[in-house]
Subunit: 387 residues, 2 copies
Amino acid sequence: MLNKPRLLTPGPTPLPEEVRLAMARDMIHHRKPNFLPVMEDVRAGLKYLFQTTQEVMPLAASGTGAMAAAVTNLFAPGEKILCIEGGKFGERWGEIADMHGQVPVRLQVEWGTAVDPAAVEAALDADPSIKGVCVQASETSTGVLHPIRQLAKITAGRDVLLVADGISAVGISPCPMDAWGIDCLLTGSQKGLMLPPGLAFVALSDKAWAKCDTVRPSNFYFQLKGERAKIAANQTMFTSAVGLLVGLRESLRLFREFGLENMMRKQWALTMMARAGARAMGLELLAKTDFTWGLTAIKMPLGVESPAVLKTASADYGVVLAGGQGHMKNQVVRLGHMGYVDFGDVLAGLAALRAAFAAAGGYVGCTDPLEQAMTAYSEALAQGPAL
Amino acid sequence: MLNKPRLLTPGPTPLPEEVRLAMARDMIHHRKPNFLPVMEDVRAGLKYLFQTTQEVMPLAASGTGAMAAAVTNLFAPGEKILCIEGGKFGERWGEIADMHGQVPVRLQVEWGTAVDPAAVEAALDADPSIKGVCVQASETSTGVLHPIRQLAKITAGRDVLLVADGISAVGISPCPMDAWGIDCLLTGSQKGLMLPPGLAFVALSDKAWAKCDTVRPSNFYFQLKGERAKIAANQTMFTSAVGLLVGLRESLRLFREFGLENMMRKQWALTMMARAGARAMGLELLAKTDFTWGLTAIKMPLGVESPAVLKTASADYGVVLAGGQGHMKNQVVRLGHMGYVDFGDVLAGLAALRAAFAAAGGYVGCTDPLEQAMTAYSEALAQGPAL
C-alpha cells in the first residue's frame, strides 16, 4: 500500500484501461462470425501501425516466434544470412539459423553502438551468396537504434532481403515499412502496442513474398504463406489468441485516435526526459547516440551492481526496472518508458533510481535530476523529435 | 495517451487493483447466506479502522447521509447542537438541523484554522441546553484538522455528545474513537477507504446509544437503532450496497495487512511532501498548522484563479485537482493525496501544479520544488508523524 506497482521495464508494459476492459469482455470463438469484424479492424490498424499496404499477420507467439518465422520462411536451409550482433537479440538470429539450417554470417558490433552501414555493405560485397540482413530496428538489450533506413538502401539493389526486428521500435520510433523499403518487419505485443505478451506480427514486402514463395515450409507452426491465405478471410491458421486480439483492436484504435506521430512524439519526450535525468545524476548512458525511444540503458559505475539497484527500487518505491542482459547483466539498469507510460511514471522511476543507486553505494553529484528531467520532457514535447 | 489520468482530488480517490477486481466479481444477494461472511469480515475490519469495540454501521449513502443520520438520530427536534463552522462541511450541520428541527448554534471559525477548544467550552458553559457538538475531524474544504481529542475531553463530563465527521480523517490521520472518547464517528467510502463513493459508516459510543434510544425516529432512511438490530445478524435494514461492501472487505483486508499505523505514516509523508513542494514554489498553504493528512489546500496569489490552474493541470498533464469551495472557490487549489495515492502520484501532481500555475500567470521562484518535495517525503517516511 505504500507504493503503487510501476512497471518500467522494456516490456511487458502497463496497459491502458480501455485495453484491459476490452480483454475482460466475454470470450468469443475464432471461427464464428462475430470474430470477423475484430480481425477486420485489426488488419486495418496494423497496416496503419506498420505504415504499409501489405498484410500484417498476427501470430500467437512471442516476438522470438516472429523472428523464427521470418528466418525460416524467407531463407532455405543452406542459405546465408548476415546477422548484426550488437546485443542479446542480435545474437538470436544466428541461434535460430543454427537450429534451422540457414548459415549465419555474424557481424559483431560493440554493445551500445549502432552498426555501421558501410560494414554491412562491405560484408555483402565480400560474399554475394548472402541472401538476407537480419537486424534489430531497436536492440532492446542495449537501447540502440540500428540504421534501418540506410540498410534498406543497401539491400534494395541486391538479391538480399532486409529483415528488421521492430519489437521495441514499432509504435515507438519511426519505422515506416513501405517508405523505408523494409522487406520483413516484425514486432511483438508487449512493447509499444500496450498489450500483454503473446502476440507477434510479421509483414513482408513484395520482394520478400516472392522469395518466401520459393522456400519450402519446414517449420510447422510458422507458415507465412498459409497465414497470408487465411488473413484474407479474417482468420489465422491455428487457434487465434482471441483475448489478445480483442485487446489489440482497442490498442490500435487508441493509436489511430491519438495518432502515430503523437505517440512517437510522446516517446521521444520521455526518452529525452529519462536521459536528462540519468545524466544529471552523473550516470553514463550506454547508447551515446542512436538511442532507442522506448527504453534508456544506464551504465552503473564500478562498485555498483545493477541487481542491488533493482532490488531497492522495487522494494522501497514499487518501481520495477530491468537489469542488463548477456555480459552486461550486472552493469546496466534499463529504464523502460514505452507502452502506456507517461511523464509521471518516469518521474517516479527516476526518483526511485536515484535513491536505489545511492543506497547501492553510488554517488549522485547533482541535486536536481528530477527538475532537469522535467525540463527536458517539456522542451522535447514542445519541439518534437529530432529526426 | 499522452498522460495517464491521475485523480488527485480529496475524494473520490484511485482504487487499488485488489478492490477493483473484488467489485468485478459476480453479484450476490444481500439476503442469502453467502453475503453473511462478507458482512462478518466488514464488521471486524470497520472496528479495526474506527479503533472501537462498538459496531460500525454501513449505510448505502454518501458521507452527508451519515451526517444526517447522526444529527437526526441523536438529537430530537428542538434540541440545540453546537455546529463548528470553519468550512463548507462545517456549515452542513446547521443546514441539516434547520431542515429536521434541531436548533443549530453556530460557532464561526476562520477558514483555514482549527476551532479553539476554549471557544467550544465557553459556548457550552454559556448555554447548558446545548446537547451536542458537531464538528469535522478533518474539514475537507480547507484541509484543517479540528482538535477532536481536546473537544472530547470537554464534552466527556457533560450531557453533551461529540459528533465527529471523520470523512477525510478515518484511515488517514489518527481518530481513535474509543481512546479519544468520540460519541459518534462517521465517515464515507471514497476517501481514506479507497472505494468508490456510495457507502457511509456511523458508530456510536455507549453514551450516544443511550441518547439515541430516547430520540423518536423521524428520518425513515436513517434509523440507527434499526441498523444496530440488523447488523448483529450481518444484515442492513434496507438493500445493502453489495458491490461496494465486497470491495470494502478487500480494502479493509489491505488496511489490516499493511497496518493502520503504516497507512497513516504514508499519509503523513505524502502530506509533508505536498506541503514542501507547494511551499518551495512560493505558494501559501491555507492551513498553516493543524493541517489534514489527506489533502493540501493551496492559496493562489492575487491574479491567479484556481479554475485556470485546474484546467491546464488536467488538459496538459492528466492531473485532476480540486478547486476551493464556498467563498474560496477560485482562490484555492486542493491537491488530494489520500486513498490509493503514492509518492509518484504526488510528484506528478506537483509537476502539473507548477506548470499550470505558471501558465496561469503565477511566478515560481524556486527551481527545485520536486526535489524538496521528494526530500520531505523520504524524511517524513523515515521519521514518522509528529503527533
